[in-house]
Amino acid sequence: MLELDDLTLRLGGQTLVDGLNLTLQPGQLHAIIGPNGTGKTSLLRALFGELPLAKGQIRLDGQPMMPGNLAVWRQAIGYMPQNTQLDLDLSALEVVVLGRLQRLSMRLSDEDLDAALTALQALELSHLADRAMHTFSGGQRQMVLFAQVLLRQPRLMLLDEPVSALDLKHQMQLMEHLKAQTVDQGWVSLAVLHDLNLAAQFADHLIVLGEGRLQAFGPPAEVLSGELIERLYHVPADVRHDPDGQPYVRTLRAAALPG
């Protein structure tokens, strides 16, 4: 269980996140949504211990994060930063196996390599295993780095725009995998997403941030509304529901608006 108590983040005199209170259950996928510059990335960085807290507390399974115990804190975390720009002469397999850094010996064991291969296979990436990172497209790099983070077997998963460079198929593949592993392994998973429909489709809860404050929190069907989207993004939108109750968002062009 991840608990945020009155979490406040400031950088250079500016308040990025203000008084956030949240309790997130394991085995659930939470999508962080909101306009650009509302503290989504800052929130993930703070949870990872990269951004000092101005106020408040973060606890994972009852253990508080403290500046002195960051190394231990991070052992429980799988963190995928937004930037996946890597121009490296290392094979995908070698990059993924680094997910097991803590246990690697000078000679790579068959066991470690097998684990890395399995992670790649699970994402249907095994054909990339022996190709160098610098020959990959942005989307391929993103998938390989996702495989790396899977290998860490975390309790808390933090993904910053994990699908930003992916085509439709791989977006679905990554999200399906994340969702299934979150349930199976009992992770607390947080992913920053910009695609509201993808978030609605996969997330158990939406964490809606606007101007550094929590605007809404709850299951997508309860949270998403045309009014919320217009208030957050200043874009007129229409939220409809599938026969099975799942919401989907359709943005409206100015010309389509009545009057």
Partner: protein, 356 residues
């Protein structure tokens, strides 16, 4: 991402096999370089004012007792320490360069470009001008060079210790240090007599000829210890190449790794530079050549950078004695004169291959 069914069918066992093959190929590069180094060392000992045959040199090296006293003196007492020093200093510069490039995530980083060599040069000049602070010049000049090299490294450390100082800032500070110490060196030269000036210039050229056995042992010990300590962090350093945030997420204490590596590099390069003077270029280029051959896997990149640096300086030493028979070209000039065209050719041919 359109893996067709045929490529997808590659089995896990096959991929494992390919990974092992890749590692095997990297091992082969290490042994090829070790072999080349042995050849270059033999040639280095064989070249010099008094002509010795290759066979004679090899025989003396392998079983000293069988050679006559004269040959033994030339080979073992005069030439061998110099030839070995070329290897050790080259290795130290190669190691220093590769770790600075890793640490600062910048292909231009090297002990030279970050001002360490310039600081050493200024320290040596100061020791010369001040009459050696009462010490013998043999001791005072390396001591001065060493002290100022560490001072420059210390300034860079201080920066690295500060929170929120990125590698770009450290590089800029290094380049600023380079200019600062070059100006200070020029000032010392401007104020000193022509005779002293000539000695300073000669030191700045870099020379292996001053090498004695004790100097060699000190440099060797420092380089080996630092090199082994660096290699123990090979995996962490590889992670660092994925970016600092990602390295942290994999469990690397980036600040501690950066400080430790910088300390080892500073100690190693300061020792090497203080004995032989300024030899630029190797610290910059040897890591690039090693990286082209074995990639970013630091388990192999670290030793190959060292071997590549050693081979480059050893070859330069042979060439510096062969350009004008009987005369000696300053080795610092030779490394850049041969190295630069070779390096440009290498970079251009690599680009061509990448496009093809």
């Amino acid at each position: 991402m359109n893996g067709s069914a045929t490529v997808l069918a590659v089995s896990g066992a096959e991929m494992l096999e390919r990974q092992r093959k890749r590692e095997g190929r990297r091992w082969r590069f290490l042994s090829v370089f070790a072999g080349l180094i042995f050849c270059s060392l033999t040639l280095d000992v064989a070249t010099g004012p008094s002509l010795l045959g290759l066979r004679e040199v090899l025989a003396t090296l392998l079983s000293p007792a069988s050679a006559d006293a004269m040959t033994r003196a030339i080979v073992l007492d005069m030439r061998l320490p110099i030839a070995l020093m070329a290897l050790v200093v080259g290795a130290a510069l190669g190691l220093g360069g590769v770790q600075m490039q890793t640490l600062l995530d910048n292909p231009l980083a090297s002990p030279y470009t970050l001002g360490l060599a310039a600081a050493a040069g200024f320290g040596a000049a100061l020791a010369l001008v001040s009459g050696g602070f009462g010490l013998s010049p043999l001791l005072a000049i390396p001591a001065g060079a060493f002290a100022f090299c560490l001072l420059a490294a210390g300034l860079l450390f201080g920066l690295a210790l500060l929170r929120h100082v990125g590698s770009q800032t450290i590089i800029l500070a290094g380049i600023a240090l380079l200019f600062l110490f070059q100006s200070l060196l020029s000032l010392v030269q401007f104020l000193s007599s022509p005779e002293l000036n000539q000695q300073i210039v000669f030191w700045l050229f870099g020379s292996l000829m001053r090498t004695t056995w004790p100097m060699l042992w000190i440099t060797l010990a420092v380089t080996v210890v630092c090199g082994v300590l660096l290699h123990r962090d090979a995996w962490k350093l590889t992670c660092l190449r994925l970016g600092e945030a990602r390295a942290r997420s994999l469990g690397v204490n980036v600040e501690r790794l950066r400080l430790k590596t910088l300390a080892l590099v500073a100690l190693m390069t300061a020792t090497a530079i203080s004995f032989v003077g300024i030899i630029g270029f190797i610290g910059l280029v040897a890591p690039h050549i090693a990286r082209m051959l074995v990639g970013e896997d630091q388990r192999f990149l670290i030793p190959l950078s060292a071997l590549c640096g050693a081979l480059m300086l050893s070859t330069a030493s042979v060439v510096s004695k062969s350009i004008v028979p009987g005369a000696l070209f300053p080795i610092g000039i030779v490394t850049a004169l041969i190295g630069v065209p070779f390096f440009i050719w290498l970079v251009l041919s690599q680009r061509g291959r990448a496009r093809a």
